[in-house]
Amino acid sequence: MDITLHVWRQKNAKSQGKMEVIEGKNISEDSSFLEMLDTVNETLQESGVEPIAFDHDCREGICGMCSLVINGEPHGPEYGTTTCQLHMRSFKNGQHIFIEPWRAKAFPILRDLIVDRGAFDRIQQAGGFVSVNVGSPQDANCIPVPKQDADKAFDAAVCIGCGACVAACKNASPMLFVAAKVSQLSLLPQGKPEREKRVLAMVDQMKAEGFGNCTNQYECEAACPKEISVEHIARMNREYFRAAALEESPKEGHGGE
């Protein structure tokens, strides 16, 4: 198949970028979206043009590196699919395909389609962890976890930190990502000691990074390749109110429930 790409080209973080038209000829319908870009890049290289820079790593939908907005939709038109798992058969011969980077002030563009997602790392570092004392390991089964909680925590834990929720959100809000992390840890007994501190710190960091605020439009849920539910955002909201209220009476605030 032949396609026409409209790609965001930008030399580096400081330069001005623009959309450029690049033709893709003889693309196999069975190739993945990233393989299509590889093919196009080879052609570009042969004609002495700088290839399109894009992020990728595992190419099997688990690392969260691939990050392309395809015709306005993060990770493209297929539901619950990362860009690397998207195939060219989802497109038509002769179609115009717009490829843009994640657009958010907090995700500065480094080059072409590659953005710096360090903001997510800093949110995670602000509270998305559990502290464990060193020493001999405990028996894994000595901390009972109710099945229901384990399931819910797992639903949240499948977040791969790709940032599609931010890219899809009309306000560039990372609520789904932050909520998935808060939810996952606050549901499990291991996360309880830092339960209040965590949610307050992560929500604060989210703001400090310059992300927007949630308006409950659920574009994130629709774009998320891991189908994380906005139910976790509601849980984070509840966690936040609880922690903010407990903060007023510090004695109760420590040690969780």
């Binding site: 907005v69 306000n171 605020n213």
Partner: protein
């Protein structure tokens, strides 16, 4: 007061205040609409109702003050959050797409600002009576005549109906959305909260708009 700071300054806290003030304003809107519908019971009943409100005295001023504070807070936070949200994406997408967000949810600030303009006009029109000379000329206690006089102008009625369409769109998203902001998203609750926005929106639109329409069509004289 750390809590106060958290409510106003954090993204999650500000949304909670939006939800609470939005809920209170929605409550006011529904009570106001129910009161207006007494118009259909005739001039005596409606004027007695209007007189009843006026004679609340200090309580009325307390309620007005509370309502004004709620409204100001809602508008202040709405504008603050919207500015932050716009700033969070300085460069727009060349190919702008919406996967599933409703139109109502995307135009909240626009329908909201239309409400702000409307509320100012509405107060000038019927409360301060400075818009139309015919209304300022009426006897002070005759609220019924005031409504009929006001709405016999198709332009005025048209503007009111348009404003109610904006309010209705605002509530369509807002009333469903406020539950999520308060953390009330749950499998058993969602089928109800999802429908509540559109239901309240329809009730408010038809309830309010029926009055100028009835006046225009001569059903209320």
């Amino acid at each position: 007061m750390k809590l106060c700071h958290r409510l106003f300054q954090s993204s999650v806290g500000a949304k909670m205040l939006m939800a609470i003030t939005g809920l209170m304003l929605t409550g006011f809107v529904l009570v106001h609409m129910s009161g207006n519908l007494i118009l259909y019971a005739g001039p005596e009943k409606f004027n007695a109702y209007a007189h009843g409100i006026k004679s609340l005295g200090a309580l009325l001023w307390l309620m007005r003050g509370g309502l004004l504070a709620t409204f100001v807070l809602h508008v202040y936070l709405a504008i603050k959050l919207t500015i932050e949200n716009k700033a969070a994406r300085p460069v727009p997408y060349a190919y702008e797409a919406t996967i599933q967000a409703t139109a109502a949810s995307r135009f909240m600030i626009h329908t909201g600002l239309m409400m702000l303009v409307f509320v100012i006009y509405h107060l000038a029109h019927y409360t301060f009576k400075i818009v139309s000379p015919e209304i300022s000329a009426l006897a002070p206690g005759d609220a019924y005549a005031m409504v009929v006089t006001g709405f016999s102008s198709p332009a005025v009625s048209g503007f009111y109906i348009l404003a109610m369409a904006a309010l209705s769109a605002h509530l369509r998203h807002g009333v469903s959305s406020l539950f999520q902001s308060l953390g009330l998203y749950h499998g058993n609750l969602n089928p109800i909260t999802e429908k509540l926005g559109p239901i309240v929106a329809s009730i408010v639109f038809f309830g309010f708009s029926s009055i100028p329409l009835a006046v225009l069509m001569g059903a209320i004289k």
